[in-house]
Amino acid sequence: MVDISVNGEPRAIPPGHTVAALLNSLGLDPRKVAVERNEAIVVRSQYDATALDAGDQIEIVHFIGGG
């Protein structure tokens, strides 16, 4: 397993786990969040291609649209 952090909490994921797989395991619909990896947003088209590394700091950024 690979140790990462999600919203500041430690989490162990299988090696090669992608951003898309992480969202799936968190039960989050990718249409209502953005994903921040090591202080940068991962663009949506790269969710399947982006494998997470040990030590990655992941933050879930919620999609908000109020004014």
């Binding site: 619909d29 249409r31 209502k32 953005a34 921040e36 202080e39 940068a40 947003i41 663009v43 949506r44 088209s45 790269q46 933050e59 950024v61 919620h62 999609f63 908000i64 649209g65 109020g66 004014g67």
Partner: protein
């Protein structure tokens, strides 16, 4: 650029002109600028008031809503005795009361696929403070097509987000962050989930600050970065946001070449 100021202008803007980064040149740039504010609500209120106070020469306001009692907990351009009035008229009155030298163009209409491009193209800079996703994506696409810089802020509950989009200058656009609106009902609105009033004041003021910086060309803007404020945690973070080559609006092979997709939504 016209650098002549009246005595009243020099007095009114003296604290700006004192700033080395602003000076007479920056103040003249503000006076010559045209800024469109989409939504005269929680974000649009501080935006309109601060941009007017700062001496932005022409401010456009677009909103088709009327002032409701439930707005007044946060929408500080409106007043109790203006409940029922069109929001653009109420906000224009508040902005003119602060600075009568500023021209306020009140567009009492809903931004839609037919009028968006013309409205956006008539201004130098656009600030989005609207309250729904359909309009947010419409504003963004219109700005991409018209090559206008967009400063976009959003709030919900105790959270605020802010970024500047200028894909015409190489940066990402709103759709690089979120390619499409969330399905109906998946993300709540402020009227459904609530919003701490002062949070809109902070985010609208940050948005006004970024607008003034963009007009004057000073400091570091938020193009390519997203500012996230968690008011409950009292924590601000600014993270990277890159252009998505697969973006439907500003990517290498854009599929959104006009606003026709929004026209379908207007009628659907």
């Amino acid at each position: 650029m016209d650098l002549d100021f009246t005595e009243d202008e020099i007095s009114r803007y003296s604290r700006h002109i004192l700033l080395a980064e602003v000076g007479g040149v920056g103040q003249a740039k503000l006076r010559a600028a045209r800024v469109l504010i989409v939504g005269a609500g929680g974000l649009g209120s501080p935006l309109a008031l601060y941009l007017a106070a700062a001496g932005v020469g022409t401010i456009g306001l677009v909103d088709d809503d009327v002032v409701d009692l439930s707005n007044l907990q946060r929408q500080i351009a409106h007043t109790t005795d203006r409940v029922g009035q069109p929001k653009v008229r109420s906000a224009a009155a508040a902005a003119r009361a602060i600075n009568p030298a500023v021209a306020i163009e009140a567009h009492e209409t809903r931004l839609d696929a037919r009028n968006a491009l013309n409205l956006v193209a008539g201004y130098d800079l656009v600030c989005d403070g609207c309250d729904n996703f359909a309009t947010r994506f419409l504003v963004s696409d219109a700005c991409v097509l018209a090559r206008r810089t967009l400063i976009s802020a959003a709030v919900l509950r105790f959270d605020g987000q802010l970024s500047t989009f200028k894909p015409h200058l190489g940066g990402p656009c709103y759709r690089c962050l979120h390619p499409a609106p969330p399905p109906d009902g998946m993300v709540p609105s402020c009227s459904e989930a609530g919003i701490l009033g002062a949070v809109t004041g902070v985010m609208g003021s940050l948005q006004a600050t970024e607008a003034l910086k963009e007009i004057m060309g000073i400091g570091e803007g938020l193009s390519g970065r997203l500012m996230i404020w968690d008011a409950l945690a009292a924590r601000v973070r600014t993270i990277g946001l890159h252009r998505d080559p697969a973006c439907p609006a500003c990517g290498d092979q854009p599929t959104l070449r006009d606003l026709s997709a929004h026209a379908l939504m207007d009628h659907g």
